[in-house]
């Protein structure tokens, strides 16, 4: 899967997994910050993203500090997934 297709897939999975009913795929920018002032995700959402990576991509995140970097944006998530051979 190329990078752009992966990002589109990730956005759809984020919306579904986090029940972001009022958000559409096109509302999420590739480099948009996901937490805090960005998409407004919270700590429970961070845990859901960890589950998402494990469920859909077979990647486990065990270090919370790693999560802060990986989940900064869709771009960073996609780069992380691709660097792990997906």
């Amino acid at each position: 899967m190329d990078a752009q297709a992966l990002k589109q897939q990730l956005k759809a999975q984020i919306i579904e997994q986090l029940n972001l009913e009022e958000v559409k795929v096109e509302d999420i920018g590739d480099d948009q910050v996901l937490f805090g002032e960005g998409l407004g995700l919270d700590s429970i959402d961070a845990l859901e993203l960890i589950v998402l990576l494990e469920r859909h991509y077979g990647i486990k995140i065990t270090d919370p500090k790693q999560g802060q970097t990986v989940f900064r944006s869709v771009n960073t998530m996609a780069e992380f997934i691709q660097s792990h051979g997906q």
């Binding site: 997994q17 986090l18 029940n19 972001l20 009913e21 009022e22 958000v23 407004g40 429970i44 959402d45 845990l47 859901e48 589950v51 494990e54 469920r55």
Partner: protein
């Protein structure tokens, strides 16, 4: 013991003091979404909540709007009593199902496997810092419900009291909310045995 405002939400009817706000029908998820849209709440976090918290949030919204219109001090002068029969049963079952299906727990589901989470969501949304209590009871007007309401009403600084009965499990859901103000003192009516009017 007459509340200032009384809302009811069940399949087919969402009312405030008998006036129809919406006629939500269909499965619970669909009906709750319709009720949310009817209130024009604009609260994205609503969609992340479980059904029990959504139901409590929705039925409380109209009476809290009345409270705000009447100048209630929601931050410091308001208490909340939440009553339910099934509590977090729906989310407990969902948590079990997700674990069976995927082998992984969903944090967003698991976080709602406590019956008092709906009160927390409600107080966060409305900035209510007063005392709150969540009780599991067989019905809205059990003896312990009335006793708990009196206790909350007597708490320091509390002048307004919101009582919620919300119950959802599988396809069944029903909820009521009443608002008592400073002049509708539960404390002075020792013989009162009900919180929720039978009509409308």
């Amino acid at each position: 013991m007459t509340p200032i405002a009384h809302s009811r939400l069940s399949s087919g009817a969402f009312t405030l003091d008998g006036a129809l706000l919406a006629a939500p029908s269909g499965a619970p998820d669909e009906a709750l979404r319709a009720a949310y849209q009817a209130l024009a709440m604009d609260y994205p976090k609503f969609h992340k909540m479980d059904r029990a918290a959504k139901l409590a949030m929705l039925v409380a919204e109209p009476v809290l709007r009345v409270a705000r219109d009447r100048g209630a001090d929601l931050a410091e002068g308001t208490a909340v009593l939440a009553l339910s029969r099934s509590g977090s049963g729906s989310s407990d079952v969902e948590h079990w199902r997700v674990r069976q299906d995927t082998g992984l727990a969903s944090p967003a589901v698991f976080v709602y496997t406590l019956p008092n989470i709906g009160v927390g969501e409600l107080t966060i949304r409305h900035g209510i810092h007063g005392p709150s209590l969540c009780l599991m009871t067989d019905g809205p007007d059990s003896a312990e419900s009335v006793m708990a309401a009196r206790l909350l009403r007597k708490a320091p600084r509390v002048r307004w009291l919101v009582c919620l009965w919300s119950d959802i499990f599988a396809a069944h859901f029903e909820a009521q909310a009443v608002l008592f103000g400073p002049d509708e003192g539960l404390t002075n009516q020792a013989d009162a045995t009900t919180l929720f009017p039978s009509t409308p």
